[in-house]
Amino acid sequence: MNYVYAFLFSGIVCALGQIILDNTKLTPGHITSLFTVAGALLSFLGCYDYFVAQCGAGATLLISNFGHMLYSAAYQGYLEEGILGIFSGMFTKSSLAITAVIIFSFIFAIIFKPKD
């Protein structure tokens, strides 16, 4: 069942994004920012943990998960260290994705010839 939920959840979110993209003047940059903020908001409302538990990779692979990780890490930081923890804990969970993107993009940009 996990596979079905993963497929449906991710598919529905992507279709939703496509509907917004086609019917408004927003660019893909707007869409990704919007869905990141939506992920943080869903995390704030307590829904996103449920989605992750039910849909697995369907929820963790979306860009919304980035907002979810930022929010949950910052809140966890607050619980552990107070106000200072919000600042120091913000990136604890999402640093994996950011570091991976930086390292791989840099290596490939150095190795490969740019287009044109």
Partner: protein
């Protein structure tokens, strides 16, 4: 080419888009990415005996690696054009935007080109993610104590 000219040219060349087809393609592609991800997670859990959280971390690493590699090999731009949100909203879109701006601006030099344009497209995601998360944590703290 100027921006306005470019927009006119794009409008002239691109055929009338079928919205329903776009939505279905995005749905299938987004679902397929999640399905492959779920397979990889389950594979890692059974083969290497990882916990679900660790497997999820490896999955993100693998997906970003593949997306960056495919962007560097020039495949990804065409796929993003066709599948649009099916590939933009998953983490692949985030990796693609960084990798493509890194490749595009590399010729302008390592500091002024690559360095200063690295997060050109993904910067907004990080910025507004952090801002919204910060505000929401403050709200949660005020409400929940």
């Amino acid at each position: 080419m100027e921006k306005e000219e470019y927009k006119k040219l794009v409008k002239k060349i691109s055929p009338a888009e079928n919205k329903l087809k776009n939505i279905i393609v995005a749905f299938l592609m987004g679902g397929a990415v999640a399905l492959i991800g779920e397979f990889i997670v389950c594979g890692l859990m059974t083969i290497f005996g990882l916990s679900r959280v660790d497997a999820g971390g490896w999955l993100v690493l693998i997906v970003i690696f593949v997306a960056c590699l495919l962007t560097a090999l020039n495949f990804f731009d065409n796929w993003v054009m066709r599948c649009k949100c099916g590939l933009i909203i998953p983490t692949t879109g985030f990796a693609h935007s960084v990798a493509s701006s890194a490749l595009d601006y590399r010729n302008d030099g390592l500091i002024t080109g690559l360095g200063s344009n690295f997060f050109k497209l993904a910067g907004s995601v990080i910025l507004y993610g952090v801002i919204s998360a910060f505000i929401l944590v403050i709200v949660r703290v005020i409400i929940g104590g």
